[in-house]
Symmetry: C3
Subunit: 329 residues, 3 copies
């Protein structure tokens, strides 16, 4: 199940998980990030998932895996008790008579489900969620708590959304008439594929005319903002606090680092990785890793450096001038 | 109504809107962003709103406008079915007997309206909203879903707020006594002008002594943070994920780009535009466009560049030294 | 109580607070930020809290303090009417029979309190809050409105959390198996110390195996994201919109400026101050002030500068080359 080879005591009983530094007897740990390799020798875990290379350095029972972190993820599912409220509708929930709710669905206290919503088998709507009119949810979804789906949002199967995320609010579109901003009404919606997971406090706006689209297997962290009409490719990962403006097309298997951003109306190729707090300010056509920013330094030094930075065009001109002069000499 | 001149078949029936690339027969599209000009020739829309300059390039019925995007915004209102729940108070809502609610108001399921709140005619309080004690809402406001107004917040007329926004929480003010932080209690509130629109997951803090003020016609996107005692001038636009610290005064008709920021206790003149993810770190006195940041590049190159950046002061000194030497020679 | 020395009319009655610029008769103001010193001479406040140095410049009654801002914070508590709903459980709240709730607790309308939650004396659960199964809240906490605590979260005493914050959602952890992301289930929780205050719309994720820990006296502003397994030291201050990745250890008495960030798996020493919108991209071992970024400038100039920035490695090489050449000459 974990796709590992046992090297050690097959009778050793594992009752839980722990980090290399903190695990104790009966616990299973893992080594994946080399930064923690030094902790392996001293671990008190009963067993550790390691790769072939670290097998020799592991003083306890070993589960040898070609991908220790993947094996560990699988182990985490074994020891996890998933929330599983009973099927049925809590009496405090307010359900429109025109909503279609599979009998296997669980609807928690204080939920609101509006007219025409259609909720698939084994889906869990946690406490305090609001499912707008005409929303369609696939099978085995889980809105964990206080999620808001605006009308017409569509989720595939096995979609998980954490607390206080808002899917399908109007995009931020205004036309300026010279005096004031005139709202663009948004007739599109949001379509979310199978196996998508969305963290807490994230917002995904509905499209102006077509839908905003989140591809299958995409994972989105907390407090991410995705603007109207974005298309996010399958299996892309978007870390916390990332801000993606409207009409951005992001490829498959990308990673947007924490607090990164992308300006509107650009596209990003497949398999692009953007560093933390980097801004993608024009389209990226090639896979690879991209960054912006300056790295941190002592503020005293930084104050001098940014003064120079602002004069960089002048410095470059002077350098070119000197080069000519020295060459001439 | 759209302020356009028809150039084509006046009998053509339009039933909806679509983008240039995706619209089909019966749909109206528009061309405003030159980035999409190439799509005009191939559009299958039945009609397109264009400006005079693009009229000749449009192969279908034309609606010629001096501001195509404004005309399109007006068209979007025609085809939009706005949420319009019936007047009255849902039986699951908890209404303090001392709240004053106009009979034309709609209060949705699971709302809480506290003592002394005063809600103007035709306002809609969507599901799950909490309106604090003593809040005053003007006419025709719409709190869409799960909006939280802290006590004493005042909204003008025609204010729209999207889901999970929080208006009027305490500002982040502490005095450090050498050992711990002592809270500044906030006696001000938040005053929001007519025609303001606020996206989802946005927070606007109440003032310490005076109010935080959002001017008439201001449009604020999702996940924006506006600190205590800010004053935002009329018709200013604040894009998503922008962070504005306390006591910032922003002028009229400004545009704060996505994920931009402003440090505390500064002022920004009228008609200033700040680029995406740029930080305004001191007051800006002149209108115009301002930016910070570095632009993105391949991470491999970026790593070399930022090493140089940190040495920029040294480089500048050496350049100056060389110049003197070469001149002397 | 304010730890001040009165210099003026001891009979003067103070009925409220005001800023130097806006206070009128009967109001008390303060001068702490030197940026506002010019407003002292013209103030119409009845009394001002000043330090010894500014005493001579104050034209009205003086309360002389060694820390005017601290004295003002104490004064703000005197004039503040704190929300104090009556003890008891609102009939619309949904309380699991296996929750333990002290009789002195106030539970507001539409709250949900799940099985095994344990809520200490004098705690206030404001309207619309969701307290997950097995959560433990100390005495005199205040969840102001619509706060979500996931199962198993533990709060010390005197913890305040503002609206729409989410504590204890799963951390963002996935193992990539080459085709798709496999969820790391999170068995840790969040432990929050005494006297912690958390703003609106903030998210703090639960740990993967151990807990995420927020130390005593920490103050966290709005829309902050704190990743799984972070440890935040006592009395640290985290300003709005800050994004802290997973497994970051931050020391005591630090200040993370607004919209700042820290990448994952690093540590930050005690008494470090990070500037607004700066990214901490590697561990910081020494106390002091740190910054990243470029400072803002006119966009026209900035566009030239960032072109040069991207060539900085080349410029540095050419400068070194010139130096050698000039020396040789």
């Amino acid at each position: 199940m974990l796709e590992v080879e046992l090297d050690g005591d097959g009778e050793c009983e594992i009752t839980g998980l722990g980090s290399l530094a903190d695990a104790g007897p009966g616990q299973l740990s893992f080594l994946s990030n080399p930064a923690y390799a030094a902790q392996l020798a001293a671990t008190r875990a009963s067993a550790v998932i390691v790769d072939e290379k670290s097998r020799g350095d592991c003083p306890v029972n070993k589960l040898v895996s070609s991908h220790p972190y993947v094996s560990f993820a699988r182990a985490s599912a074994i020891f996890h008790v998933t929330e599983k409220p009973p099927a049925g509708i809590h009496p405090s929930a307010v359900i429109d008579p025109e909503a279609r709710i599979d009998p296997s669905v669980s609807v928690g206290p204080n939920c609101v489900i509006e007219a025409g919503a259609d909720i698939g088998a084994h889906t869990i709507i946690g406490p305090g969620c609001i499912v707008g009119a005409g929303c369609v949810l696939g099978q085995s979804c889980h809105l964990r708590r206080a999620v808001v789906l605006y009308p017409g949002v569509r989720l595939g199967g096995n979609v998980r959304i954490d607390a206080n995320s808002v899917i399908g609010a109007d995009g931020f579109g205004y036309a300026f008439d010279g005096e004031k901003s005139i709202k663009i009404h948004h007739g599109g919606s949001v379509a979310i594929g199978d196996d998508v997971e969305i963290g807490a406090g994230t917002t995904i706006d509905r499209g102006a005319m077509e839908d905003t689209v989140i591809g299958r297997g995409v994972k989105i962290d907390n407090q991410v903002q995705i603007g109207h009409n974005c298309v996010i490719g399958e299996h892309t990962i978007i870390c916390g606090c990332t801000a993606i403006a409207g009409s951005v097309v992001i490829g498959r298997y990308c990673i947007m680092g924490g607090a990164s951003g992308a300006v509107g109306h650009i596209s990003i190729a497949d398999r692009v990785e953007v560093s933390a707090m980097s801004l993608v300010s024009r389209s990226i056509d090639e896979p690879g890793r991209y960054s912006s920013g300056t790295g941190h330094m002592k503020t005293s030094r930084w104050k001098r450096v940014i003064t120079r930075f602002q004069d960089l065009d002048d410095m470059a001109t002077r350098l070119r001038h000197l080069e000519k002069q020295v060459k001439k000499d």
